[in-house]
Structure formats: C-alpha cells, structure tokens
C-alpha cells in the first residue's frame, strides 16, 4: 500500500468520525401523554354511578349529568 493511499484512507476515516459528531438527539416537543378522563381520578369527590376505566359508563354518566343538571325542560312536568 502506497503512502498516498493510506493517507486517503486516514482522511476518510477522520471525515467519518467528524460527521458522527453531528448525530445529535432529536429535541422535538410532541403531544403530551395525558390520561383519558374515563380512567378516573383518585379523588374523594368522584361522582357516584359510573365505573372508572369504562369509557361507555363514563360517557353515560356525563350524558345523564348534563340532562339532569342542565336540561330543566326534561325535569319540569
């Protein structure tokens, strides 16, 4: 192997090593992992009548609450 070839190989290796420093970690800000509300909150004030973890039961609970609490036409005779 000539001196010239080995110099070329050494230069190539140096370039490769230099480029490897550019492999910076991604700094993207993605969507947060927020827990779904139907999973419930470990709070003492949780409303009764639905099962935490069951999305159907949670939806039904909110629907019932909206009708009972906000629809006065459905409550009046």
């Amino acid at each position: 192997m000539s001196v010239r070839t080995s110099t070329h190989i050494a230069l190539g290796l140096c370039l490769l090593l230099g480029l490897s420093a550019c492999g910076e970690k991604a700094q993207t800000l993605g969507t947060k992992n927020d827990a779904k509300p139907h999973t419930g909150a470990a709070a003492a004030f949780t409303a009764q009548g639905w099962k935490a973890g069951d999305p159907i039961s949670w939806e039904q609970q909110l629907r019932t609450r909206a009708q009972y609490g906000q629809n006065d036409h459905s409550r009046s005779p």
């Binding site: 947060k32 409303a47 909110l62 609450r65 909206a66 609490g69 629809n71």
Partner: protein
C-alpha cells in the same frame, strides 16, 4: 362521544358572575386571572345581552397553530389543553385567540408574563388525573371525576351549558323551539364553524361568492 362544547344562552344569562366565581373557587385561581368572565353586549342599551366567555376549545384552535413551542394538545374529547412545563409565556396564543382566553399570571417563572393559564374545561392537564401536581398547575380535573365543568353546573339560570356537543345543542334547540326566539349562539361560528350558530362556515361562504 362527541366533542365537548360550551354554549352560552344569552336569553338566560343574568350577568350574576356565578360561573366566574365557581371557576375561581374550584381551581383556586389567583388574583388577576380570570379563566372565565361575563361580557355584556350593548351595555346600557335596551335589550342588552350578557354572555359568559372562556376558552371555547375550538375545533381548529388558533392558539395551537401559533404556539412556537407546541405546548398545546387536544384530547379525544375535543378539549384544548396545554403543558405549562413547555409554555414559555410568549403570549402569541393571546393574540391569536378570538375569545381572549389565555391569561398570564404575573407571579411566575417569567415575572410579569408568566406561563399561560386558561380554562381547561375542568379536564386538568398532562399530570396524573386528580394528582396534587395537576391541581396546582391546572386546577381540578372534574371530567375524570365524572362531572361537568363547575361553571356550567353552578349556573343559576342554566344559561351556560357544557358537555357533549350533541347533548348541549339538543338542550338549547328545545329551548329555542319552546320560546321561539334567541337562536343565536354567540361564538359558536367562530369556535366550531357551525351553521347551527346562524353563521355559515367559511367553505359555504366561499361557495356563495
């Protein structure tokens, strides 16, 4: 589950500020910050109307579009929330919001303009549901407790409705049919681009022209 929405029935709002008080009390919001407020239209003119305004959790939220650090996110229920750990308090969302919802508490990391605070539809934030950390940053997470927003549940005249868009729209439609007036829903066209609000969507208007 449809999208969570607010409706304020201007025919019923009596400007009592019960919603504002309920919100401040529920989330222990500091002085100078109002996640919700009551606005009177044509104040002093006969026939004036009042409406309760907060973040409307828009379908295509402009605050999300302009945030330079992408701190906003939308839940599956259509609630627009943000991460205070990411917010830099730049105030762009405040300029973009058509409802003036973003608030900037003066005591905070950034001095005069702290991290943004706004209505969460009582859905807390990215911290664990019902945790102390969530309460301190965002207030109570009533949705995870099987409840609706405190402002609407406390409204004495039931002018402010909150919940599944289909359910609240149905309640409001029944009222309009019974009283035969007051079909205009302030802010719905802007927030949800709905024809139900008496305003046409941008697409429909474009087609007309």
């Amino acid at each position: 589950m449809a999208r969570m929405k607010f409706i304020c029935d201007a025919e019923r709002c009596i400007e009592c500020n019960g919603c504002v008080t309920a919100c401040k009390n529920e989330h222990e919001i500091p002085w100078g910050v109002n996640r919700r407020r009551v606005v009177t239209l044509n104040d002093g003119v006969p026939g004036e109307k009042s409406i309760s305004v907060a973040c409307m959790h828009c379908s295509d939220a402009p605050c999300m579009a302009v945030c330079p650090v992408n701190c906003f996110y939308k839940t599956d229920e259509g609630v627009v929330l943000h991460d205070k750990d990411v917010c830099i308090g730049c105030g762009y969302c405040s300029y973009a919001c058509p409802f003036g919802a973003p608030q900037f508490p003066s005591q905070g990391t950034f001095g005069v303009r702290g991290k943004m605070d706004k209505c969460t539809f009582c859905a807390g934030g990215p911290e664990a549901n019902g945790s102390q950390a969530e309460f301190e940053k965002y207030g109570r997470n009533r949705l995870a407790e099987g409840k609706l927003p405190a402002c609407a549940e406390m409204c004495s005249t039931k002018a402010l409705l909150a919940g599944d868009g289909d359910v609240v729209a149905d309640i409001f439609r029944n009222r309009v049919l019974k009283r035969n007036k007051g079909a205009e829903v302030w802010g719905w066209g802007t927030a949800y681009g709905s024809k139900q609000a008496g305003q046409q969507t941008a697409k429909a208007e474009g087609a007309k022209k």
